[in-house]
């Protein structure tokens, strides 16, 4: 029997019992659909996080005070084990290393920013001129922090777009004074709206010279040093020399952690991919359930069609053709279910994308392919036993009764 005839014969038997066929296909659809939706969500989350990090640039090193624990994953800062402060002169020394394009020291804090009677809390970034390049910040108006020695506490500030809008509205802001904490700063620039970046919204930050921030927060130590490396290939070498330099500067104590953007990215990528795979796997279990359903229904069908099977054999169908016929039925149901599941899953992904526009929700191609393949394989696998039973049926016995 040709494959075409086998399929059309199988199809005929499926549409002869439309309700049965639709129910199994529906079970299959739910499995395929949930794999598609859940991987779409997982992949959306992964891409969202990766985009956040990628916007910081990939040849970036981040120096954090404190030693990374060898046992746990978290650097010392997170577990509160800072041993020695990072200082501005550490940052200046790093800047002079080979392969370093520029560095930016960073202090972060929260402060009240006010103009006249208008007042608002803002995230204060104490840094230097090079931060503009390192973080790919865009200026809407004016200038960024002035270049020059990092220990000069010039009373100037650069406002995020949202802060400017709230304090100045339609008024001109450049050249005006604002009060931050107990000091006055002159506004020299406005940063364009950029949205989320590394956990906080640039629109709601105010940048001031790092020395000014240290006076304001009354501290000598830095929160981070961001180091931009000349070329991506140099990142590992520069990481080593930064570690070596800071070790000698800190009395031979390796008490800082240097993380690379790539490593952070890779870690997040791994975690989120694993999560996506896990939810996809859980969803795939429902495909197994659908497979068991197929097996059960096919077993009943084989029992009901004994005389038809016997007849086919009497007419000269070898066992292999009979087996193929039943596998074809399972295959066609699975294809039907997979197609329905794709439509279901894509529609749900689309709806979710509308609901959460920030997440780039789209089912990854591999997941779609895997869901469909799993459906087909599960269908055929679970149909194997019934198909084998049909193929082995004793024709003489099957034909003796009605």
């Amino acid at each position: 029997m040709t494959l075409g005839d086998t399929l059309s014969l199988a199809w005929g038997s499926l549409i002869h019992q439309p309700r049965r066929t639709l129910l199994i296909a529906l079970a299959m659809s739910i499995g395929v659909g949930s794999v598609v939706v859940l991987t779409a969500l997982g992949e959306g989350a992964r891409r969202y996080v990766l985009e956040q990090f990628a916007s910081l640039g990939t040849n970036l090193l981040i120096v954090i005070p404190g030693r990374a624990e060898t046992t746990g994953g978290a650097p010392g800062v997170l577990s509160g084990q800072t041993t020695r402060d990072l200082t501005l002169s550490d940052a200046d020394a790093v800047t002079r290393l080979r392969g370093v394009a520029r560095t930016a020291p960073l202090n972060v804090g929260v402060a009240q920013v006010s103009r006249g009677s208008l007042s608002r809390e803002a995230i204060l970034l104490g840094t230097t001129a090079d931060m503009l390049e390192i973080r790919h910040t865009h200026l809407a108006r004016g200038r960024y922090l002035p270049p020059g020695p990092s220990d000069q506490a010039a009373p100037v500030c650069v406002l995020g777009e949202r802060i400017r809008a709230e304090l100045f509205g339609t008024d001109n802001a450049i050249g005006e004074w604002v009060r931050i904490g107990d000091r006055r700063f002159r506004v020299i620039g406005i940063v364009t709206a950029q949205g989320q970046q590394m956990g906080f919204n640039t629109d709601e930050t105010v940048a001031i010279p790092v020395a000014a921030a240290q006076q304001l927060f009354n501290t000598e130590s830095l929160f981070r040093i961001l180091v931009e490396v000349r070329g991506r290939e140099a990142v590992p070498a520069v990481k080593e020399s930064v570690l070596a330099l800071l070790k000698t500067r800190h009395e031979n104590d390796a008490d800082v952690t240097v993380i690379t953007q790539d490593a952070v990215l890779a870690t997040f990528d791994r975690i989120l991919t694993a999560l996506t795979l896990a939810v996809a796997g859980i969803a795939a279990i429902s495909l197994g359930v659908a497979g068991v359903l197929i097996m059960n229904v096919m077993l009943v069908s084989v029992a009901q069609r004994r005389s038809e099977i016997g007849l086919l054999k009497a007419l000269g169908a070898p066992a292999a053709s009979v087996r193929l016929l039943f596998l074809a039925e399972a295959g066609l149901i699975s294809i039907l279910g997979a197609a329905g599941g794709l439509i279901l899953g894509l529609a749900a992904s689309f709806a979710l994308g509308r609901l959460y526009p920030v997440l780039p929700i789209a089912p990854p191609l591999w997941a779609v392919a895997a869901a469909v393949a799993t459906a087909l394989v599960a269908g055929m696998l679970f149909a194997w036993l019934p198909a084998r039973r049909a193929a082995k049926l004793d024709a003489a016995l099957a034909l003796a009764r009605r």
Binding site: T2, S307, L311, K313, A314, L315, G316, A317, A319, S321
Partner: protein, 224 residues
């Protein structure tokens, strides 16, 4: 063309061995019309199944057209059935979801006959059994006699040299049974070897050769 040599077939039922055929030896020439009669349980169906390669003997040899087919494997046996043997059953065994034409086309499908050729042959076969107008009817829409005629058309679709019929009129009234038998006789006239198992004396008597079985043995074998 059919040569059976001391064919034995027994069935194990519980701890008891039921001998359905005991050393049956039988030669049937091409073109014969043979009727097989005998009491229930005498082994008629078992013999027919063996002749049709749906079953295998425990011992003895079966030669078909000079070829030993006793030990053929499953695939080869299926091929022989497809090409040389046609079956007609008491319960018709039409596939209920296929039309008359679809049922007749089944053996052609299995033999991978091209669709165009298939259509032509099915039309001719249905015309031969007088059912041209019923090609698109489902089995549920046909009478018993018509069902058996469709089954005969199906059995003849590969133009087999042997037609095996197990009580072909067993489910039909006398008049319809006669029509069906006339159709089978007509096929026999045209050269097909016809072997009919029946309980009907009238039908049995029409055969050129009448075999009677009892307890797994051929007890009479008369040629007129």
């Amino acid at each position: 063309m059919i040569e059976l040599d001391r064919i034995t077939r027994g069935f194990q039922v519980g701890d008891q061995l039921v001998q359905a055929l005991r050393e049956v030896s039988l030669n049937i020439a091409a073109g014969e019309f043979v009727s097989i009669m005998g009491p229930s349980g005498s082994g008629k169906s078992t013999l027919l199944n063996l002749l049709g390669l749906l079953d295998r003997p425990n011992s003895g040899t079966y030669r078909l057209d000079g070829l030993d087919v006793t030990g053929l494997d499953e695939v080869a046996a299926a091929t022989v059935r497809r090409e040389k043997i046609g079956f007609v059953f008491q319960f018709f065994h039409l596939v209920p979801r296929l039309t008359a034409a679809g049922n007749v086309a089944l053996p052609l499908l299995l033999a991978e006959v091209a669709p165009g050729e298939r259509k032509k042959r099915v039309a001719r076969l249905l015309a031969d059994v007088g059912l041209s107008g019923r090609a698109d009817h489902l089995p549920a829409q046909l009478s018993g006699g018509q069902l058996q005629r469709v089954a005969i058309a199906r059995a003849m679709s590969m133009n087999p040299s042997i037609l095996l019929a197990d009580e072909p009129t067993g489910n039909l009234d006398r008049a319809t049974g006669r029509e069906v038998l006339a159709l089978l006789e007509d096929l026999n006239q045209r050269g097909t070897t016809l072997i009919v198992v029946t309980h009907d004396q009238e039908i049995g008597a029409r055969a050129g050769r009448r075999i009677v079985m009892e307890d797994g043995r051929v007890v009479t074998d008369k040629v007129s």
